[in-house]
């Protein structure tokens, strides 16, 4: 079941063995054999087989049904009265996808007294903004937002729906997907349209060890959550015009089964969020003592950067959990990332390897972080970072 191998058709060319990323195919005399404990049915072998000896059983695509779905939607997210930057990033990316399809970009703005934000989404590239304004949407709850998004999708049939891979986006999107029995690709770092007008969703898996391209061939809309900070927003065009449509519908409080009793911010005054910063200065266990954090803080201040920490630093309580970078913390991709006294464990790298430029300073020449670093300095952070601060000040003064 799943993969059907026709031994008689197999010519023994062994191309499938090369194509398999999971080492699940082995030579078996002049034919091959499959190890189904390793096989993930990804279809790479099926694609390369010149003899059509491998068939992966799939559903059939109903082209007519799919053709009824059009436009690229972005479910935007409001925090503290403003749109999160990921919403603008997604509208920018949606513009690009919609242009390839010859379709429209529609942004969903859900909240209370939020209509004033709609204009900025049009400036960013949206053709239309659907505003759902309701007191019940003032704070995020799974139930209210799921009802709002699913009913809009059901009545208007978009081809693609994108969500930010934030705490709320990743809470909401799977709920919507399950209600509508749709596929959903998590935490994408790449999106494109292929020749068959399908959304190609690229995402890392196995702690960033491998990338996967995922399609949703049989159902519409195609949905993805998208990692913040991966797509850069374009400069807003204030001359752009578009349509703002207020959608009326009411959600009854009894449909909302959770109650938010309190919201607690752990964002420290003056400490930038690592997800939204262009530059991050991240410290690891090499920093030795919490009082030493003054040094990275000084560098961060100079560069208007956010302060981050590896897991041990956060576990020790030296920095709040919001500043942890890595697999169990935040995923970041700033323009510039400083790793100070960080060894570069895979769980840490999973959260920062898509940064544009990585600078690492570490005493240990063998530290794995150097494999990622665009610029590595083998040395002591306490000797080098003060010099970097001086040098930046000097260069800035010269400009």
């Amino acid at each position: 079941m799943g993969l059907i191998y026709d031994k008689d058709k197999c010519t023994g060319c062994m191309l499938c063995i090369k194509a398999c990323n999971f080492a699940a195919i082995e030579k078996d005399g002049d034919k091959v054999k499959f190890d189904f404990d390793k096989c993930v049915l990804c279809g790479s072998c099926e694609e390369v087989c010149p003899a059509d000896a491998i068939l992966i059983e799939r559903q059939t695509v109903d082209k007519e049904a799919i053709a009824q779905y059009n436009d690229v939607w972005v479910v935007t997210e409001i925090h503290d009265g403003r749109l999160r930057s990921v919403s603008y990033e997604l509208v920018t990316k949606a513009r690009d996808l919609a242009d390839k399809l010859g379709e429209k970009v529609v942004a969903l703005l859900l909240g209370h007294e939020v209509e004033s934000l709609a204009e900025s989404l049009i400036h960013q590239g949206a053709d239309k903004v659907l505003v759902v304004d309701d007191k019940i949407l003032a704070d995020y709850t799974t139930d209210a937002f799921t009802i709002a998004v699913t009913s809009l999708i059901t009545s208007r049939k978009p081809a693609i729906v994108l969500y930010g891979a934030t705490s709320n986006g990743r809470d909401l999107a799977p709920r919507v997907a399950a209600r509508l029995a749709l596929g959903l690709t998590a935490d994408c770092t790449g999106l494109d349209i292929d020749d068959e007008r399908q959304l190609v969703q690229t995402r890392p898996a196995f702690g960033g060890n491998i990338m996967a391209e995922i399609l949703c061939p049989y159902t519409r809309p195609q949905m993805a959550t998208v990692r913040p900070n991966v797509f850069k927003p374009t400069e807003p065009d204030t001359s752009r015009t578009g349509e703002i449509e207020k959608v009326d519908f009411s959600i009854s409080p009894v449909q909302v089964r959770t109650r938010v009793l309190e919201k607690v911010s752990e964002v420290v005054e003056g400490m930038k969020s690592v997800e939204e910063a262009d530059i991050i200065v991240c410290s690891g266990r090499g920093i030795k003592d919490p009082s030493n954090l003054e040094l990275p803080k000084e560098l961060a201040k100079l560069l208007d950067a956010a302060i981050g920490g590896s897991r041990p630093i956060v576990d020790l309580g030296w920095l709040p959990p919001t500043q942890q970078v890595g697999q169990s913390g935040r995923t970041v991709s700033p323009k510039l990332y400083f790793a100070l006294g960080i060894s570069g464990a895979i769980q840490h790298c999973a959260g920062m390897s898509s940064s544009e430029i990585i600078v690492a300073i570490n005493k240990d020449e063998e530290a794995p972080i150097f494999e990622l670093a665009d610029f590595g300095i083998v040395g002591d952070i306490f000797a080098i970072v003060p010099e970097i601060i001086e040098e930046i000040k000097r260069v800035k003064a010269e400009r």
Partner: protein
Amino acid sequence: MKIIVPVKQVPEVAEVKVNPETGTLIRDGVPSILNPFDELAVEEAIRIKEAHGGDDSEVTVITMGPPQAVDVLYKAMAMGADKAVHMTDRIFAGADTWVTALTLAEQIRKMEFDLIICGKQAIDGDTAQVGPEIAEILRIPQICYVRKVEISEDGKFVTAHRETDEGYEVVKAKLPVLLTATKGLNEPRLPNIMGIMKAKKKPLEVVDAEKLGVSEDRLGLKGSPTTVRKVFPPEQRAGGIKIDGENPKEAARQLVEFLAKKGVI
């Protein structure tokens, strides 16, 4: 209180390597473990049972996975879970998150529960979708990414600290509820010898597609709305310049020059 914990066996991703020549995952010799976030979920379930235990209280762990995935069920039972369900069948293979959730939910539907606790995400796929999808299929509320859980005296409500992008929020809901466990929830216990011995005698039910009673078309790869078109190794960052920091001033000068040239400072 009846608590169900869906758990997954995952490779220790820190030890997964990619063969640089072929771009294939080297999984041979990589140990399989109980997903670390699921360990938090099992621990929390045992603690809640201990604190609110009536005689009918029990913790059931459930997994969908190949035959060897039974190991994680024994591990959870050695920690203190009371019984286990192993959903295993070749037909389940290739399931995406929606079908995984459906398969688990169709089984959970037949069981009694007040609370379901999942891990925040499985460290192999990192999707964090199966939990909320199970909740939706079962039509119960969810509170995701919880760091702290409190059950009311009367055992009817749960109040949880849910992690957000800025900190956390305190959320209350009436049971049954599905929670997903994140870091900071607790320190999972290590199973002791007694626990490991006892686990061997605890009830373990095996469920295949036929017993589940869901048609093949809705299971495994065939039922999955998503398909993987291609997997490939990530672009290797060509580890760039590496200099010696013996002379800190000179190292700093070179770095700043490099950054200025790149236009980032």
